[in-house]
């Protein structure tokens, strides 16, 4: 069934910044923490959210875990956009036929 979620969204610039940094370079939590004025648990929570959304993946090396943005996380959107990219020209062709019938 279709759900129409109603959001009362609040921008979270820190989470956005975490994602953007990880899209440029793989990092562990302490590397990520430097540069942000937030605690390590806060960074970890952002990472959890990003991982749950499929936007960040992790790799363990010794006692460190390294994080990076997962481009596959964005793949479903690309598929959806591609479907619509193909649909619009077909729809406009139908519009042309409708207009032709309207013309007196």
């Amino acid at each position: 069934m279709l759900e129409s979620p109603i959001f009362r969204a609040l921008a979270d610039p820190t989470r956005r910044a975490v994602f953007e940094r990880l899209s440029r370079q793989e990092m562990n939590v302490s590397e990520l923490k430097s540069g942000f004025g937030v605690s390590q648990p806060a960074i970890s929570q952002h990472l959890t959210a990003l991982k749950n959304a499929g936007l960040v993946c992790e790799r363990r090396e010794g006692r460190y875990i390294y994080y990076r943005s997962d481009p596959q996380g964005l793949a479903p959107l690309a598929d959806w956009v591609q479907r619509h990219r193909e649909l619009w020209p077909e729809r406009i062709e139908k519009l042309k036929r409708v207009l032709k019938e309207l013309e007196p």
């Binding site: 759900e3 953007e20 899209s23 956009v81 406009i92 519009l95």
Partner: protein
């Protein structure tokens, strides 16, 4: 490390029609005419009006929920739409904005420009509490910085929002 981004740039489609903008406008805003080329709907061309497109090709009851954002008769129609995503891929819904602009062309007809963008994915994670008991919600929204091709994820503005 560099990653290749998906195509999340807006869809832009343009064409010229031999009809007047007023006639094209009718085909965009009259329910029956709109239904004849797009999808069955209950459109009202008023800012703030909510309407739905019914997708008979999908499961019964599947609809695309819309809200009219901008109406300038014979010129501009813009709406936001939300439709269910693919639950298996982890995305619950996709919200996007469709803008159709009509201008007079030199041939006495209409130039139609359609932009479909501002794609917003809502993750399935939205519905699952990250840390019990207070569930937080994550909405991922992005758009291209420009119409030029985005070459890495850093080119995509990604706004992560938390809904209370």
């Amino acid at each position: 490390m560099k990653h290749t981004p998906p195509a999340t740039e807006p869809i832009v489609f343009e064409c010229d029609l031999p009809h007047s903008p007023a006639l094209v406008w009718r085909a965009l805003t009259d329910r029956d005419l709109l239904g004849a080329w797009l999808l069955p709907n209950d459109m009202r061309p008023e800012v703030g009006a909510r309407f739905s497109f019914e997708r008979a090709d999908q499961q019964p009851g599947y609809s695309i929920d819309c809200e009219v954002l901008e109406v300038e008769p014979n010129r501009t129609l813009r709406w936001r739409q939300t439709e269910a995503g693919d639950p298996e891929s982890g995305w619950r819904s996709v919200t996007s904005v469709v803008t159709i602009e009509l201008t007079d062309n030199a041939a006495g007809g209409t130039h139609l420009r359609l932009v479909h963008g501002e794609f917003t994915l809502v993750s399935a994670a939205l519905y699952e509490p990250l840390t019990a008991p207070k569930a937080s919600a994550t909405v991922i929204r992005w758009r291209s910085l420009s119409s030029t091709k985005a070459r890495n994820l850093g080119d995509i503005v990604c706004q992560l929002r938390r809904a209370a």
